[in-house]
Amino acid sequence: MQLNRPFATVTPTLDGDVLGVLATSEVTFTITQIQRILTTASGEGIRKVLTRLTAQGVVLHDQVGRTNTYRLNTEHLAAEPIMALSRLTATFLGRLEAHLEGWGEALKYAAVFGSAATGKMTLGSDIDLFLVRASDPEHDGLPGDPEVWEQQVTELARSVTAWTGNDGRVVEYTEDELRAAAVAGEPLLSDVARQGLTVAGTRAWLNRQLRPIGKAAAARKA
């Protein structure tokens, strides 16, 4: 699936994209406003979709002067599943957060990064996950056990594929490896820090580990 086009899971047509716009806010839209959000759709195409959806009762049409406005009919029987579809990204991230909560203190930080985080997914995109594992020796016991960790990572990738249909690609570091990579100026870490959607730990913690990147860059400029 494409997290940036959640309705494409059930319909590849413009109808889904238009419903996606209407379902995310409780306001009325003109055709021009919808076109501005969807950017690639034609005004005429959007008008036809809205006419179809209005006939189904799922969209309410109003005319103010010469301006036609449209909004989702939130009382319609189909409104609830439509809104649920529009929230698929939030549902996915929430499910990831709940899944990772069970990993305990062995997991220091996790984020979704790459095209899934930047809204540029295509159907064949992987879903990239960034994990940082605690290096602290006091976490040597379960669940920090290397075999348990490996099983958890494998299960995580499998779950992501089962939830979305996309391959889950996991990039993992220990805390020590993370600090070493930060000093070396590993570009992937900057991408994760800037674009990543945090699903475990805090971004402030990640930024503290990565500070050497900024210093190294400053030193290079000097």
């Binding site: 990204t89 930047t118 900024g214």
Partner: protein, 129 residues
């Protein structure tokens, strides 16, 4: 009707980039320079709010009136407006008075800006541009 400006994908991406940059700079300064950090948390929150409004409504606020910007954000993403309200509520103190921002206020601003920046990133992930 609130004053708004139309968004393009370039505007949305640029505002998100600035939101992240302001936020990271603010966190970096937070312990040593809380007033400067507070000002940057406000900038981060405003830029992030613009992104959320751009993605959901196709426009962002261009009004100098705080209440209009808050109302527009509430329309785009109900619940987010309280975070912007916290930031704008402290904006005058941090930027235009001689009063020092307290540690608690700075942390409050960090949390509010963090919610908005994460919200902006998640909005981009869910809709793309």
């Amino acid at each position: 009707m609130a004053a708004t400006r139309k968004c393009s994908s370039t505007v949305t991406a640029g505002r998100l980039s600035k939101a992240i940059e302001f936020f990271d700079a603010a966190e970096h300064l937070e312990d040593d320079m809380p007033n400067a950090a507070g000002d940057l948390f406000v900038d981060a929150g405003i830029a992030a709010s613009d992104v959320i409004c751009c993605v959901r409504l196709g426009v962002h606020s261009s009004s100098g009136t705080h209440s209009e910007a808050i109302t527009l954000l509430k329309t785009a993403d109900k619940g987010s407006e309280k975070h912007l309200s916290i930031l704008l509520g402290l904006k005058n103190k941090v930027a235009y008075t001689d009063q020092e921002l307290s540690t608690a206020e700075c942390k409050k601003m960090n949390r509010a800006a963090s919610h908005l920046v994460e919200g902006a990133k998640r909005a981009m992930a869910s809709a793309g541009q």
